[in-house]
C-alpha cells in the first residue's frame, strides 16, 4: 500500500466533518445532535494533528487538539445536563418539540 500523505488525512477529516454536520442537521434526538458535534470536533482534531505532522506547525497542532478534546468533554457534560433537564420537564428528547421560545 502507498504511504499516506497530508491529503489523505484531509480527506478523512473532511468526511468526518460532513458526517457530523449532516448528523447535527437531521437527527431529532438531542443526544444524536450531540454525537454530531463530537464527530465535527474529531474531524477538526484530525486536521490539527495531521498539519502538526506534515507541516512546520509542529507541536502547536497537538497542543490545540488536546485543548479541543478537553473542551469537547466539558461541552458534552453541560449539553447532557441540559438534555436531562429538558427530558425531565417535557418527557421527550425530541428537539423538534422544543419550540416554546417560538424560534
Amino acid at each position: 500500500m502507498p504511504a499516506p500523505d497530508l491529503s489523505v488525512y484531509l480527506f478523512v477529516a473532511a468526511i468526518l466533518f460532513v458526517c457530523g454536520v449532516v448528523c447535527m442537521a437531521t437527527k431529532r434526538n438531542a443526544i444524536g445532535v450531540l454525537m454530531g458535534v463530537e464527530l465535527v470536533l474529531n474531524g477538526a482534531n484530525l486536521n490539527f494533528v495531521a498539519f502538526a505532522r506534515y507541516t512546520s506547525l509542529g507541536l502547536d497542532g497537538q497542543v490545540m487538539s488536546l485543548f479541543v478534546i478537553v473542551l469537547a468533554a466539558a461541552e458534552a457534560a453541560i449539553a447532557l445536563a441540559i438534555a436531562l433537564n429538558f427530558y425531565n420537564n417535557h418527557l421527550t428528547i425530541d428537539v423538534d418539540r422544543a419550540d416554546e421560545l417560538q424560534g
Binding site: 489523505v8 484531509l10 478523512v12 442537521a25 463530537e38 464527530l39 512546520s56 507541536l59 488536546l66 485543548f67
Partner: protein
C-alpha cells in the same frame, strides 16, 4: 528468540503498511454508520468505533500522547457520559426517532455537495508552499525519553510555556510563546463546567406529589 523475531518482524512490517488504511476506512465507515442508523444506542456504538479508529490515526501520525488522550478522555469519558444520557432518556418510543425519507435524501445531497466543496478547496491549496523546512521533523527529535513516548515531555513543557522543540538551536533572539495562559483558562473553565453541570442536573423537588399530602 531470533526465530520468534524472524516470524514477528515481517508481521509488524505488514501491520505498519496496512494499519493506516484499516484505521482510515474504519473511521469513515463508522462515521457514516452514525449518520445512517436510526437507533440511538447503535449510534453510540458506531461513534465509539469511529473515535477509537481516529485514535489509531493519531498514533500513525506520531502523536502518541494525543492518541492516548483521545482514548482515555473521549472514548473512556465523554462517550460513557453520552451513553449514560442515552440510558436516562431512552424510554420506549424515544430510542428510535425517525427522520422522514425525503429529509434523508435532501441531507445526503447537501452532505455530498458540502464534501465536494471542502475537498475542492482543500486540494486547491499547495500546503507545502510556505514551509520552513528547517523546522520539519522537530517534534520527534531530542528532548524525549524513548520509553515515555516521543511527544510527552515537549507537550508538558509547552503547557508550561517552555518550548525546547522550537527554541533549541533557533537563530532568532526571541523565545517562542507557549500555552500557560490557555492552560489556566481551560482549568478554570473545567471547574465552572463541573459546578454548572451539577447545578443543571440536580434532583428537583417536585411540587405535585407534595400537594395532596398537605391537603389530606
Amino acid at each position: 528468540m531470533s526465530v520468534v523475531r524472524s516470524i514477528i518482524d515481517p508481521l509488524f512490517r505488514v501491520f505498519n503498511d496496512w494499519a493506516f488504511w484499516v484505521f482510515a476506512l474504519t473511521t469513515i465507515a463508522a462515521a457514516i454508520a452514525v449518520v445512517v442508523s436510526q437507533n440511538v444506542v447503535r449510534m453510540a456504538f458506531w461513534l465509539i468505533i469511529s473515535l477509537g479508529a481516529t485514535a489509531g490515526l493519531f498514533f500513525s501520525l506520531d502523536a502518541d500522547f494525543v492518541g492516548s488522550a483521545q482514548l482515555l478522555i473521549y472514548v473512556g469519558g465523554t462517550l460513557v457520559l453520552l451513553i449514560f444520557g442515552v440510558m436516562l432518556t431512552a424510554s420506549g418510543p424515544f430510542v428510535k426517532i425517525k427522520t422522514s425519507p425525503g429529509e434523508g435524501v435532501l441531507a445526503a445531497l447537501i452532505g455530498v455537495l458540502l464534501l465536494s466543496l471542502i475537498l475542492y478547496s482543500a486540494c486547491a491549496v499547495d500546503w507545502s508552499q510556505n514551509e520552513n523546512y528547517d523546522l520539519q521533523g522537530r517534534v520527534a527529535s531530542g528532548f524525549n525519553v524513548p520509553a515515555e513516548g516521543n511527544t510527552t515531555h515537549t507537550l508538558g513543557l509547552s503547557l508550561l510555556s517552555a518550548r525546547p522543540d522550537k527554541d533549541l538551536g533557533s537563530t532568532t533572539a526571541s523565545l517562542t510563546s507557549g500555552y500557560l495562559l490557555p492552560f489556566e483558562i481551560v482549568s478554570v473553565h473545567l471547574l465552572v463546567v463541573l459546578v454548572g453541570a451539577s447545578y443543571l442536573a440536580r434532583a428537583k423537588r417536585r411540587k405535585e406529589p407534595a400537594a395532596p399530602q398537605s391537603s389530606a
